[in-house]
């Protein structure tokens, strides 16, 4: 029987509704296998129940709960044995914020790495955030131990009433005298401390032009105009008119959880070369007020100029592309609509493609919120955008803060360390529900701190375990990463903030240093691994002497891996500026160095398992 021939219903095509068409089909004998009404109901009910079971099963297989299939990282916590007994002290704030002080003041534990005394052994600087509490500068004693010399160096007593409290620090040789200088960003007046080269530092903030009250939680050194002098980008978090110890208003919080722009203004200071810095924020177009928590600088689009990538709390990430040092342009790179709670920016060539990919930490909490971390693969050259691919353990690391890429097992692939946990207090009380009351409300309500429910002794995403995500290369799911933290020996449940990587003991493996909020600092010493490695210490001549912004690409086994010397990366942290490349079974092939000045340098025939000190060619 032809469907178009019609009959009592007319032609099939003439029927207006699918109901009529189906009725016609049934009338002419087109029907599914015959089931009685009861059987149909049984079948549908069975399918329904199967779907319920599927929900439960798939939930149990939530990718974040997977752990490593094969473990090849071995870390041992040795902070105390190494002489590091630093404990971060949180800030105390104006009593008007007493009901939510643990929430507002849950920042400030920072770690940054630098070779302060040029002995080729990395040293560590930790910040504390309570008035009277001392920051610590641990000098590497070259025997597996460290000694705190902050007081005698003049970099300990920075947390003072009227001056503010430390939130983090970055190292950079701003005057190219061969010694790494220290910039401490604060809730209060930041401080620039000039390394005198004799074990002491001089506070040169006032004469540098940097003494400006900010509530900052991040800064990066970078040479945006490639003039050979390190410039400084300081991020603002809370507005700069807020003095946390003398509040004039409690209307200090974000106006939105997703698109807030009432945060502190980020500032860009150009290094004038005479010990002074000039505020060029507005002329360069980088004065974001999106509650920036972290920034990182690198040449993301391969035009030879360092760009700025910002992780913003309560807003989308921002990429400012550097237009030949004359101005920055906010790029549309697939970031503008994806609003989360950016905490850290980590840079790494995730799949050895010779690109800077980006990892930004965010918040995930069972039942309440799955923002998910972002792993953005750089396709700026091909597509003009990043592609976000985070799944599973990469996406969900709890309330994640600091993160860093580094090849922890020297297999040639960059692994990822993520520290997390916001407030670990009374484990029997949870602030998530109380916070959720205002989180979904109108901005005018929660912008005023006095409308927030009291946190009391409750925890908020507390006691979370740090993540060590092993990069399995291009194989596997979840972006190729699998969580091996517990097998690797990383079992702490402190509230991690800053994390930095460095080959602290000059043995060819990256160690992990974690600064914990209200907690002790941790040093995870890395065990031996069979893979080859190569490291580079770069010294700029035409470029800034710290070589911050220098990009090194090492080819091995037919694939390139690219890294950049950072002037601050992650969240309130800075890695050793010596670059470490794991090589697996390979030897280093062609090594290309692109110096900030634009000079390109090629090295070949290097032996593996060595540290190379490379000085920039003068010409």
């Amino acid at each position: 029987m032809s469907l178009s021939r019609g009959g009592p219903f007319g032609s099939f095509e003439s029927l207006e509704s699918w109901g009529e068409k189906l009725t016609l089909l049934r009338c002419i004998g087109y029907s599914l296998p015959v089931f009685t009404a009861s059987w149909r109901r049984v079948i549908v009910t069975a399918a329904f129940l199967a779907a319920v079971v599927a929900v439960a099963v798939l939930n149990r297989r939530a990718p974040a709960s997977l752990t490593g299939a094969r473990e090849t990282i071995r870390l041992t916590e040795v902070a105390h044995q190494s002489g590091i007994d630093f404990v971060h002290q949180p800030a105390t704030l104006d009593p008007k914020l007493a009901h939510i002080t643990p929430h507002v003041a849950a920042l400030g534990a920072c770690v940054s790495v630098s070779d302060v005394n040029n002995d080729n052994w990395p040293d560590l600087y930790f910040t504390s955030s309570r008035f009277g509490a001392a920051n610590a500068l641990y000098l590497n004693q070259r025997d597996g131990t460290f000694r705190d010399v902050a007081a005698e160096a003049g970099v300990a007593a920075l947390n003072l009433p009227g001056e503010g409290v430390s939130m983090g620090a970055v190292w950079g040789d701003y005057d190219n005298d061969g010694f790494e200088d220290l910039f401490v960003y604060k809730w209060g007046y930041p401080q620039l401390l000039h390394n005198l080269g004799n074990g002491r530092f001089a506070d040169v903030t006032a004469q540098s032009g940097l003494r400006r009250w900010m509530n900052s939680n991040g800064a990066v050194w970078f040479d945006f105009d490639r003039d050979g002098l390190l410039d400084l980008y300081i991020t603002g978090y809370f507005r700069s008119d807020i003095d946390f110890w003398h509040l004039r208003t409690t209307r200090i919080m974000q106006e939105s959880w997703e698109f807030a722009s009432n945060g502190g203004k980020n500032l860009l200071f150009k290094n004038l070369g005479n010990g002074r810095f000039a505020d060029v924020t507005d002329s360069m177009g980088v004065g974001s007020t999106r509650w920036t928590l972290a920034a990182a600088a690198a040449d993301f689009n391969d035009d030879g100029w360092p760009d700025l990538y910002l992780a913003n709390d309560y807003g989308p990430e921002e990429l400012f592309l550097n237009r030949e040092g004359k101005r920055f342009e906010l790029a549309r790179a697939g970031l503008e609509d994806d609003s989360k709670s950016g905490m850290a920016v980590a840079l790494g060539d995730v799949y050895n493609r010779g690109r800077h990919d980006v990892f930004v930490t965010n918040i995930s909490e069972r039942g309440f919120l799955f923002q998910g971390n972002n792993l953005r693969i750089n396709f700026l050259k091909e597509l003009g955008r990043f592609n976000e691919i985070a799944t599973g353990a990469v996406a969900d690391a709890g309330w994640a803060w600091g993160a860093q890429f580094g090849d922890l097992n020297n297999d040639g692939w960059l692994d990822l360390v993520v520290v997390n946990g916001f407030i670990s207090a009374d484990s029997g009380r949870d602030y998530w529900y109380a916070m959720s009351k205002v989180a979904g409300a109108q901005g005018r309500i929660f912008e005023d701190a006095k409308n927030w429910p009291a946190i009391g002794t409750a925890s908020l995403s507390g006691y979370e375990r740090s993540r060590v995500l092993l990069n399995r290369g291009r194989e596997g799911l979840g972006g190729g990463f699998v969580d091996v933290a517990e097998e690797a020996g990383v079992t702490d449940r402190l509230d991690g903030r800053g994390v930095a990587l460095a080959d602290l003991f000059n043995v060819g493996t990256l160690d992990v240093v974690i600064a914990n909020e209200k907690g002790k600092a941790l040093l995870y010493r890395n065990g031996a691994h069979p893979g080859h490695w190569v490291e580079f210490k770069l010294i700029g001549t035409r470029s800034n002497r710290s070589a911050i912004g220098a990009e090194v690409t090492v080819a091995f086994g037919g694939i390139p891996q690219r890294q950049v010397v950072d002037g601050g990366v992650g969240f309130c942290s800075q890695n050793d500026r010596r670059l470490h490349f794991g090589l697996g079974d390979e030897r280093p092939g062609r090594v290309t160095i692109r110096w900030p000045s634009g000079t390109a340098q090629v090295l070949e025939g290097l032996a593996p398992d060595r540290l190379y000190e490379i000085t920039e060619p003068r010409k």
Partner: protein
């Protein structure tokens, strides 16, 4: 159902919410999510209505459910199965969880409640807050109230809002703290979807006007119990904390519906 049916006003309103929210705040988090929920909701409705009832149902209800699920379901990054299974379960509940030929749960309410209870490791609810922007929310409230009035369910919406406010004051008296913190939730977008699309669903509310008002008052009361459980950290209620109104309706709604149908059945000759 005729085109003048008030249900199409609901269709219009939820489409407005979707378009405005996506244009301004990218609330969907990916069009694949919307395609999944709409496709599966409508497909399931067509297939099940034809196979079980011999005629294809109007798809307006499935359309509303599909959009509601796309807006409310916020899973772990880049997973689609909650949208797919949630959509199937939402529509499937209309054909499986029935009493005297009527389904007991609002479909999207059932699916969301099930997902947040059974799959809390993978699914949360409405992490996007539409910018916490007062203007956008006022527009949606204005349209919503107008549509509720036209659809003759305004009494349901207003009863719930009044009860929420009253009980917020009561909660505040019990737990202390800022009163605005207790009132704050109802100013958010989750409640817009709730008061305009869930509690007002004519297919899953009781027959009488007074009964409907009583039911939403009980929903608000159960919600308050859940909220107090959150304030006092009652562990048993923890799975309910993240979305008190949704789960309160999922508890109260079907009981009320069942009771109403039961009473109607007894009265019938």
């Amino acid at each position: 159902m005729k085109w003048s049916d008030p249900k199409y006003l609901i269709v219009f309103l939820i489409t407005l919410v979707l378009v405005a929210g996506e244009a301004r705040y990218d609330i969907l988090g990916g069009y694949d999510r919307l395609a999944t929920t709409l496709g599966i909701c409508i497909g399931t409705e067509v297939v099940l209505s034809w196979w079980l009832r011999g005629r294809v149902a109007n798809i307006a209800s499935a359309y509303i459910t599909g959009i509601s699920l796309a807006l409310l379901t916020k899973p772990q990054a880049n997973i689609l199965w909650p949208f797919a299974l949630g959509s199937f379960l939402a529509i499937g509940s209309k054909y499986v969880l029935t009493y005297r030929g009527r389904h007991l749960w609002n479909p999207s309410n059932f699916a969301i409640a099930l997902l947040v209870l059974v799959a809390s490791d993978s699914v949360a609810i409405l992490s996007h807050q539409w910018g916490n922007d007062l203007r956008i929310n006022l527009i949606i409230w204005a349209f919503g109230l107008a549509v509720a009035w036209r659809a003759r369910v305004l009494h349901v919406t207003l009863t719930y809002v009044a009860c929420f406010v009253l009980l917020a004051v009561v909660r505040n008296a019990i737990v202390g703290g800022p009163l605005l913190a207790e009132l704050a939730p109802i100013t958010g977008p989750m409640y817009q979807l709730f008061v305009f699309f869930m509690v007002t669903d004519p297919r899953t509310t009781v027959g009488t006007r007074r009964g409907r008002m009583l039911v939403v008052a009980i929903v608000a009361l159960v919600e308050t119990i859940i909220r107090l459980g959150g304030d006092f950290q009652v562990a048993l209620l923890r799975p309910f904390y993240p979305s008190p109104p949704i789960l309160a309706l999922a508890i109260v709604g079907p009981i009320a519906m069942w009771w109403d149908l039961y009473r109607q059945g007894r009265k019938a000759p």
